[in-house]
């Protein structure tokens, strides 16, 4: 019996490469199918990014070259220089950045304060007010944009950045922040805060020293969601900003056309890369937090 087993082992080792592969496939059939399916599904997700990044390095003619080239034949770095020469792109970048930072800070302040109050503080009408806020949650900006425009016009704030900063903080996106914070504060054990009261802390103290530090994950979520919302927002800048100097990145990208409105593809794609890259890098690094922030907003909000 042993001799037979030993000899059959030898036989197995001597089996052809094809044999070994088919054995492997049979064993891991499901897993391979899975990977195959996932890879097929990932093509429409991967290809646009691939195309964006490689075309940004191609000269204008090569983008239209026939046949389609997956990699640039010549790597043209001048596209990126032209992005900055075409219009004040660096200024637009800075605009988007500082506006997003201000909106994020503002939203953090407003939403943590009101989120905490709705979660922990008893005051008459709090339920009604919160219910009202809920109505803002789903309301698309397009419904309110016309009166907001008229309002801003009356205040003389058209063609300034102020509407781009105030409206996101106090509009639908800010309410999502309040929602998230409230949800998180509700989940904190109340004894911690009561201990603070017993120690003689004021309500403010309890909020600032106890509740807020614990709510750091929610703060991170609000930061990520709000920053991305502001960075990517399009309708408000489109309506409120017409001066090229004041453009934010989405407007800037859109305007990389010739005078007839036809895209200048190589420059536009290079600018797109510059816009998308920082976000993708942060995402790659802080992937888990980013995904969790969105998951929170979807399940709770």
């Amino acid at each position: 019996m042993n001799a037979n087993m030993i000899s059959s082992t030898h036989l197995r080792e001597e089996r052809s490469l094809m044999g070994q592969i088919s054995l492997f496939i049979a064993k891991h059939k499901n897993k391979l199918l899975l990977y195959l399916l996932l890879s097929a599904l990932s093509i429409p997700f991967l290809f646009p990014f691939w195309w964006m990044f490689t075309s940004a390095f191609k000269p204008a003619n090569d983008i239209f070259a026939y046949p389609l080239t997956l990699l640039p034949q010549t790597w043209r770095l001048e596209n990126f220089a032209e992005v900055f020469a075409f219009q004040p792109f660096a200024r637009h970048y800075f605009n988007s950045l500082y506006i997003a930072v201000l909106v994020t800070i503002g939203t953090l302040i407003v939403s943590s304060l009101s989120g905490y109050a709705f979660a922990r503080i008893r005051f008459p009408g709090s339920n009604l007010l919160f219910l009202l806020l809920l109505s803002a949650l789903m309301m698309p900006t397009e419904v309110t944009i016309i009166p907001n425009f008229t309002f801003m016009q009356a205040l003389g704030l058209i063609d300034t950045h102020i509407p781009l900063i105030i409206l996101p903080i106090l509009g639908a996106n800010g309410v999502v922040g309040t929602f998230l914070m409230r949800q998180y504060f509700l989940g904190i054990p109340i004894d911690l805060e009561e201990a603070g009261f017993l120690d003689g802390m004021t309500r403010w103290g309890v909020f600032w020293r106890i509740a807020l530090p614990i709510a750091r994950p929610a703060l991170v979520a609000v930061t990520i969601l709000t920053f991305l919302y502001s960075w990517n927002s399009f309708l408000e800048p489109l309506v409120f900003i017409n001066n090229n100097d004041l453009y934010t990145l989405p407007l800037s990208l859109r305007s990389i056309t010739d005078e007839y409105g036809q895209s200048l593809w190589n420059i536009q794609l290079a600018a797109t890369v510059l816009t998308v890259l920082p976000v993708l890098l942060i995402y790659a690094v802080a992937q888990r937090q980013v995904v969790e922030s969105f998951a929170l907003s979807g399940t709770k909000g």
Partner: protein, 303 residues
Amino acid sequence: MHAAQAPRHRRSLARQDAAIGYLFVAPQMIGFFLFVLGPILAVFVFSTQHRDLLTGVVEPAGLANFQTMLQTDRTFPRVLANSLAFTVWLVPLNLCLALLLAFLLTRKLRGMIFFRTLFFAPVITSTVAWVIVWRFLLQGDQGINQFLEGVGIQGPNWLREPNWAMASVIVTRVLKTVGLNMIIFMSALQNIPREYDEAASVDGANGWQIFFRITLPQLAPTILVVMVLTVIGSLQVFDHILLMTNGGPANATSVLIFYIWFQAFRVFDMGYASALAVVLFFIVLTATVIQWVLRQRFIYNER
């Protein structure tokens, strides 16, 4: 301390606390009244006026705007039909793909994180960037069609033929947003207790049966909520459409939200645009209420 003083002390503490409460919510609520509730009411008022963006003239118009909308405007029914078609196609496509991806990815296998990252990447990319690339890829004789030509297929003029343009907008929109629903489903799947399907497979049920009889019913509340959220999200595609097709060709991709902006800022008729916004408001309100009711029903039932 007297016994009588203690409750008074407590009451004034409670009043103090309430005051702080008001203070804390003040910024949010003031902003809400100024920039959300106020404008919603204003939209109703504006819809009863003729308001011209160019000349600045404002006149009362009664229900004239709504009359135009329902009787004279030939584009409005088209716009509503487009919005409906858009939502009706996008939501199932989005949900099915999200479920499929979530299901495939909630396994302890190597490389799942890579795929999850990839599928979620379009969600955080700006719409402008996403649309710019796709507009290039969907040209009549470049991009994807060049590739198709290589394998002998004559691709349609994706963005210039009405039905294909709508399909292109729907598909590119799904690709952009499916990652979000995917991770919501993933976290829901991970919360399903394993005992049920373990017990079922011990009882001899195969994969499909487990999925349909056990997993899916448990996912049902999440699916319902996500569905309504996606419906509401499908109404907010203004930037995607403006940048991809500008509402064309032949108004094939003009949905309500695009039409509002167009009437306000291209035709300069703010009154009419406000009337359209009122319609949008009611649609969103209905969807939101449905979502809220469903959530109360099912989440409480779950508990």
